[in-house]
Amino acid sequence: MRTMTDIQLDVIRELFTLGAGRAADVLNTYLDSHIQLKIPLVKILSSESVKGEFEHLEVEHYSSVEMGFSQSLQGTAELVFLTESASLLVEAITGSDDYRFHFDEIKIATFSEIGNIIINAVMGTVMNELNLPLTFSIPNFYDGTIGERIESISDSVILKAQIDFSVEKLNITGNILFLFNVVSFSVLLSAIDVYIKQP
């Protein structure tokens, strides 16, 4: 099965929102201004349908932080932003105004940490609430077109969560993609069903 019922989607969105709130708490300890994170939309996609979710997927450059996971589920979690938005986000969080320029190693390291905080918080919440122990690889940064990335995805079920950042008056939107193989996706669905049945 490669879909989710509305109730299952509601549960996963609720858990992601909880995780995003925890990530915002961590990020707020680094900032003078207040940051808010929201997950307004979660949807299930296939390797094919994910192409329709991104504009100019062969042209626009995207930056992503990826962490692989294994044990009870097998897959990867990626925080994906247009490179320009990623640079803007880093500038908003570090308080400088350099976003027009090169996304250099220092900014990449900051973006990677932001991705690490968000993925850890969101996946940590899913792990704990659904009782799914996971082991993670260290965060990796990637830069390229989504077209290139999608080519390497085959036979995966993709859980796409839109993530909205509000820092001061700035709103920046990105996505978290969770890529599972079919077996792991079934395990996730079963775990959600168990969670739903809990009193």
Partner: protein, 347 residues
Amino acid sequence: MNEETYIFRQDDHLFDYLSLGVFIIDRNYTVRVWNRRIEEWTGIPSDKIRGHTITDLFPKFSEDRIRKRLEGIFSGGPPVMFSPELHPDVFLAKTRGNRKRVQKTIVTALPNGNNEYLALFSLEDITEVSNRIVEYRSMRDQALKALEEKEFLIREVHHRVKNNLALVQSLISLKISQLGLYDEFDNLLHQIDAIVLLHEKLYRGDNITMIDFRVYTEELLETIFSTLTGQEICSSIRIPDVHFPIKTTLYLGLIMNEAATNFLKYGMPSDRAPEFRILVTLDEATGEYTLRIGNNGPSFPEDFSWEETETLGIQVLKAMTFQLNGTISLHKGPDPEYTITFLPETE
């Protein structure tokens, strides 16, 4: 090696052979391993720190914002990353030149048996990369400042040229008025107007080398029509969103000025409302533009010879087209029209 069966051995000296700075702490923040590279970076020998809490020497580890991130590590949670920009002062270490060392840190959970985990810190030194980025940013900022200054000066020059031309225009106007030669010289004043407008666009606009040709044409024709006739002229200007370099715009401006003033003087229809048309099209295959300047006035006389005529207006049209490296042709009528083809100058 299976992670489930791996148990860290404190006497393992493998970490000393790594280029990364590595240290390990337990749940109580007691240092268990301190490798050679981190000894070099901090100047703290392993035997002086092992067995002590890391907060004794690095007080930032007492802060909540660090501790909260590390909490999950001691229960086998996902790796945690600390970037140099968000954590500049966690691991205070100096380079040989006494400059602050810049590090990127990854913390991973290291199984220690009995479902316990240690925090393994791997520090990558990115001081050199960071210094180069700082130098690059500084050079880039200087270059941008220099460019801004240059642009400011160029705008200033255009402003002065425009003012000087306006002064020349005033002097000529005075002389014309003294001699009463309005008809003979008003075209000269409009030719200067076309150049003044060009310089005005350059110092007022965002771009100091390219002109928005549609806006320029609209303003040029408005100036000509409003000063040379009290009659309402219906202008149809169809120009795509195109920006031309200064020289190209200058020659096209003088051509349009000539065609418009000739129309007002000699080509106005007596039996209908006057219309003046400008159309610019691009041949995408060749990159060549075509400018059509037409009106609904009477046709040119049958015996008018485009090649042989020596009238000043036609001479100007031909000379400006020559400067454009373009071609010009005339459709005598009905609805006379000049067709100029040209390749814009490269910027």
